[in-house]
């Protein structure tokens, strides 16, 4: 595999939240196409595992423990990447926290919870992009791949931080795309629906996530009838990191099992009304 020419040969790609879930799938798919991968996230063991797996594929890979909500750590991560890898071609802002999606009445949300939810799902993307911004603009090339959510486009009951932050990612994408288009920098956004990343989550969240997976409301929004898998998102990431997307910027790429296409009624609702009845 390593000898075959890949579509991302020689590219250096930073993936935040790269140790688990979507990030892990992205790292391995991108490495398979020849990219060198920097994974940055809080928890070290899964990060090291992914980096080791990438190296086994014959690519360079560095695991940089980073709290992406801390601008100083993010800046250091970018500096270290430049020093060790020599350049940066793409930043994938994947760090986020679905478990911040737990619904709560607004009056029960503390200041700390609000800030954490916004920090981890929105500010982290801003900090990481800012850290490479001058470098990308001066170099007149680069790509940013953001990860929003169906919940960035639609409201979800009592789900304030996640919806607001992911909606913020949508506007961050548009603003960056417009600002950086003259510098040959493409900024696009992935919109995952319900993707099953639960096996990679810490055991203390398994029960909540299992309820989420099985809940009626989850299924009501899934026209294809099943949740997505991390690779469903990884494949779009691959496309958006590659030269194939060089003329694409400010775009939104959903992999959501049809969730955003429907929505007028619950999934599976299929009325029939003949024209005669309709005109009666």
């Amino acid at each position: 595999m390593a000898e075959q020419k890949g579509t991302l040969d020689g590219k250096v790609i930073i993936i935040t939240g790269g140790g688990t879930g979507l990030g892990k799938s992205m790292a391995l798919l991108l490495a398979q196409e020849g990219a060198d991968i920097v994974v940055a996230a809080r928890r070290v063991p899964p990060l090291e595992e992914v980096a080791a797996e990438v190296r086994q594929m014959g690519r360079r890979s560095v695991a940089i423990p980073t709290d992406c909500t801390d601008p100083a750590q993010v800046n250091q991560m970018v500096e270290r990447t430049l020093k060790e890898m020599g350049k940066i071609d793409v930043v994938v802002n994947n760090a986020g926290l679905v478990r911040g999606a737990r619904a709560k009445p607004m009056w029960e949300i503390t200041d700390a919870e609000w800030r954490e939810g916004i920090d981890v799902n929105l500010s982290s993307a801003f900090y990481c992009t800012r850290a490479v911004s001058k470098y990308f603009v001066e170099r007149k090339s680069g790509k940013v791949v953001n990860v929003s959510s169906g919940e960035g486009f639609r409201g979800v009951r009592d789900n304030y931080m996640y919806c607001c932050a992911k909606g913020g990612v949508v506007q961050l994408t548009r603003t960056l795309a417009v600002s950086w288009a003259p510098f040959n920098i493409q900024v696009n956004c992935i919109v995952p629906g319900f993707v099953d990343t639960f096996d990679n989550q810490p055991p203390e969240y398994q029960k909540i996530l299992e309820q989420y997976r099985m809940s009626r409301s989850t299924r009501l929004f899934l026209p294809v009838g099943h949740t997505g898998k991390p690779d469903d998102i990884g494949f779009i990431t691959l496309f958006l990191c590659s030269d194939a997307s060089d003329y694409i910027t400010g775009g939104f790429f959903a992999a959501d099992g049809g969730g955003l296409a429907g929505g007028f009624a619950t999934t599976g609702y299929a009325p029939t009304v003949s024209l005669k009845e309709a005109l009666a």
Binding site: G263, F264, A270, A278
Partner: protein, 248 residues
């Protein structure tokens, strides 16, 4: 009760198109705000009921039976309205024929007819009434569409396409006629009660408001968009949907 700035006193409104739900509540809202109306749709009891509502509100009303799919007839009957009232201030396209069949089962003739009622009729009325509004250098066009202009549903191919067609016509005409004093806006409607048809229980739960809308709940927005006060609003789609489009 209509706020003073939204009153439509002595304005002339056409309410056009075939619809099971919308004709009566729209006529009711316009006339309650002080407008006189002409109702153009095929002959039925709905037409006479709508005229009764208008007259109960103390306004003038005429019903002109019209094949809305026939451009020449639409033009002729719109001219008759102008002859009667002297001008047209407001056109509300209420067309709404909800035809649902699996895509592969739809007969060509049914497809064509559905498009004629839901989309082409709106084109016919915009042409016929728009001509007069452009001369007047003033007018309000309000197109009632479904939220299905922006969302898909199983078996809804014709209806969804026609509705999004009307939505795009709204945006384009708004631009073409922006300098001519004619505003063109759309109202997006979600799930509404239809006669005595029972509400679907699962759908009711699914709507954030937890219930279907009552047809008369469209009235406030119709009057708002018809009023002089909204002359700076054009090309917009506004929803009456109990929150449906916020979460779905």
């Amino acid at each position: 009760m209509t706020a003073k700035v939204f009153m439509l006193k002595d304005k002339i409104a056409i309410v056009a198109g075939e619809s099971k739900i919308w004709t009566k509540p729209i006529v009711g809202a316009l006339t309650a705000a002080g407008a006189d109306v002409a109702i153009l749709a095929k002959q039925s009891t709905k037409l006479t009921q709508a005229v009764d509502v208008a007259r109960r509100n103390g306004r003038k009303a005429i019903a002109i039976p019209t094949d809305v799919t026939n451009p020449a007839q639409v033009q002729k009957n719109v001219n008759q309205v102008i002859g009667e009232y002297g001008r047209i201030d407001i056109l509300v396209n209420a067309a709404d024929i909800q035809f649902f069949q699996p895509f592969m089962d739809i007969k060509d003739t049914d497809w064509q007819k559905s498009m004629d009622y839901n989309l082409n009729s709106v084109v016919n009325f915009c042409r016929a009434a728009g001509k007069q509004m452009l001369v007047q250098k003033k007018g309000r066009i309000i197109n009632v569409v479904s939220t299905l202009a922006e969302r898909g549903i199983n078996n809804g191919s014709v209806y969804c396409i026609a509705e999004s067609g009307v939505l795009q016509l709204t945006r384009v005409l708004a631009l073409e006629w922006a300098l001519a004093g004619v505003t063109v806006n759309a109202i997006g409607t979600g799930w509404f009660e239809e006669g005595n048809k029972p509400a679907d229980e699962l759908i009711s739960k699914y709507i954030p408001a937890k219930r279907y809308g009552k047809p008369e709940e469209i009235g406030g927005l119709v009057v708002y968009l018809a009023a002089d006060a909204t002359e700076f609003t054009t090309g917009q789609l506004m929803y009456v949907d109990g929150g449906l489009m916020s979460h779905a």
